[in-house]
Amino acid sequence: MTALLETIGLQKAFGAVIAAGDISIAVERGQKLGLIGNNGAGKTTFINIVTGHLKPDAGHVMLDGKDITGRAPRQVRRDGVSRSFQIPQLFTSLTLDQNLLLALAILRDQGMSSWQPARSDLGIAELDDLLGRFRLREYREQTIAVLPGGVRKLVDVAMAVTCRPKLLLLDEPTSGVAAEEKFPLMDVIMRAVEGTDTTVLFVEHDMDIVGRYADRVLAFYAGRIIADGAPGAVLSNEEVQRYVTGGAA
């Protein structure tokens, strides 16, 4: 069976800094992958290459057997790849409702309509479903700028999930969220993609989160993958403990 995502020899350098040094992985459909590594290890660069934000110096990104290397983010999104960001990327002067309605409208290819009112019956049911899945109903009329960080994180993920992606990449979904909110937030995110065959890759620094939500872990160090396997095996790996977790596992 063809892997959903396959990267072949991805390389990317920023001057003397090697952010991706020959990254080759294959990810099966439906997997939940945790990406771990110190700052600068190459995790976000990997996500940026897969989603088209960065072009690799060498190598290929294959999605469902199709080469998507170097395609623009909007094209990659249309291929079925979606992402959230470490710092939520939202439309801060719009309300939560408007953010999600817009995402739904673009999904239906209505982004170019100058006639269809933004707030119409179309998409209301889907919007309501999204708000319910992400438990965001009480904030729906509020402007994004006034929402707290944890809620913004959820909206950011909800925007990414809206397009029913084959591959969802979450860049540090719990960063900036209070410690006691991290697990509940991850529960909401994982429940939202439950029952779909969405493959999830998430970057995470909290090893407890990785241990609970990932069924496979990739450990990055200096632009390379130093360990790849089940969470228990990777987190107890000697190199991972030395370079990534500092013995936290």
């Binding site: 909007r74 002067s93 933004a118 509020q142 006034v146 707290p148 397009c163 509940p184």
Partner: protein, 326 residues
């Protein structure tokens, strides 16, 4: 689509009110209002751009293109009907905008503003030296017909042009309101907030900005043609940077929230200018400057934000109880 029907109904009512008011107004005010609406249309184009986060300092380019298209059609081809002349002005602006839009769609902020300004000054320079188009003296136009009707007398001609300008204005205003409230309108607003997310949702920021630019150019062409008919004269100053600056001034004065505010601001500005130049002939530009300063200080989002400011704030404080995730 109650929103669209409501907007169209408001446009019909606005036109009826303007028609009645215009008949009752003194001739000088009819002339001021006609010119104000024509300039307001150009400013409305800048508002469309501002909603996407861009400000053009070169709308004089399209204003000028529309005016010269109408003028040349009248002088060279004997076309005298205002509807045809204004349509030609719109087409001239639209075509020029469609040519320039792809070149500017990748620029933002001061780079976009400066490039548009530079283009308008190139047009100004070329027109000054193109003697077949009248050079720096420009061209004179005669009074137009209106759907075959040629008004007799100065007052009738002024009122007919005012009625026609009002009709074009309410149509353009209604279409812009519908556009601003549409999915694409919201996408423009979103682009102003966060281009990265727009791209990651699958839409093209270049395309959004490009379309806004073409809309602004077409409105500029319409405004230019109407101004040419109103003034009866065209010259290269239509493309001069101070003319473009005046449109930006208008857009800032009105803000980007309300379409009606653009035309309210245009009339207010023309009145301030008329009275200032009459009573303070040597310092009226200073009076305009003070006026703009007061607007920026006390209404930074323009006259269009006044209704929102007057509305009592019902915003709830946003707190996320941890329990909500459980």
């Amino acid at each position: 689509m109650p929103g669209i029907i409501g907007t169209l109904a408001a446009a019909v009512i606005a036109f009826a009110v303007l028609a009645v008011a215009g008949d009752a107004m003194p001739n000088w005010l009819v002339l001021v209002a006609t010119l104000a609406f024509a300039k307001g249309l150009v400013a409305l184009g800048i508002v469309a751009l501002m909603r996407g986060g861009l400000v053009s300092f070169g709308q004089g380019t399209f204003y000028c293109a529309g005016a010269y298209a109408a003028g040349l059609a009248m002088r060279s081809f004997g076309i005298g009907d205002a509807a045809v002349l204004v349509a030609l002005g719109a087409i001239a602006g639209l075509i020029l905008g469609a040519i320039i839009a792809p070149l500017l769609a990748g620029y933002r902020g001061i780079f976009f503003a400066t490039l548009t300004l530079a283009l308008s000054m190139i047009v100004y320079g070329i027109l000054n030296k193109t003697y077949s188009l009248g050079g720096s003296d420009g061209l004179n136009l005669h009074a137009p017909r209106f759907f075959g009707y040629q008004p007799a007398g100065s007052r009738n001609a002024s009122y007919a042009l005012f009625l026609f300008t009002s009709l074009v204005t309410v149509i353009a205003a209604a279409l812009c309101r519908i556009h601003f409230d549409s999915v694409r309108g919201l996408l423009s607003h979103a682009t102003r907030d966060n281009e990265i997310r727009v791209e990651y949702l699958g839409a093209s920021v270049r395309w959004v900005n490009g379309i806004n630019f073409v809309i602004a150019a077409a409105l500029g062409g319409v405004g230019g043609a109407l101004s040419a008919l109103s003034l009866g004269h065209i010259d290269p100053d239509f493309a001069f940077w101070t003319t473009s600056g005046e449109f930006v001034f208008l857009a800032i004065l009105s803000g980007y929230m309300s379409v009606a505010a653009v035309f309210g601001a245009a009339i207010l500005l023309e009145l301030v200018r008329s009275f200032s130049s009459q009573y303070f002939p040597n310092t009226w530009q200073g009076a305009l400057g003070v006026f703009l300063l007061l607007i920026i200080l006390f209404l930074p989002e323009g006259l269009g934000s006044l209704p929102l400011r007057l509305r009592p704030s019902g915003a709830k404080s946003a707190r996320a109880p941890i329990e909500k995730f459980k």
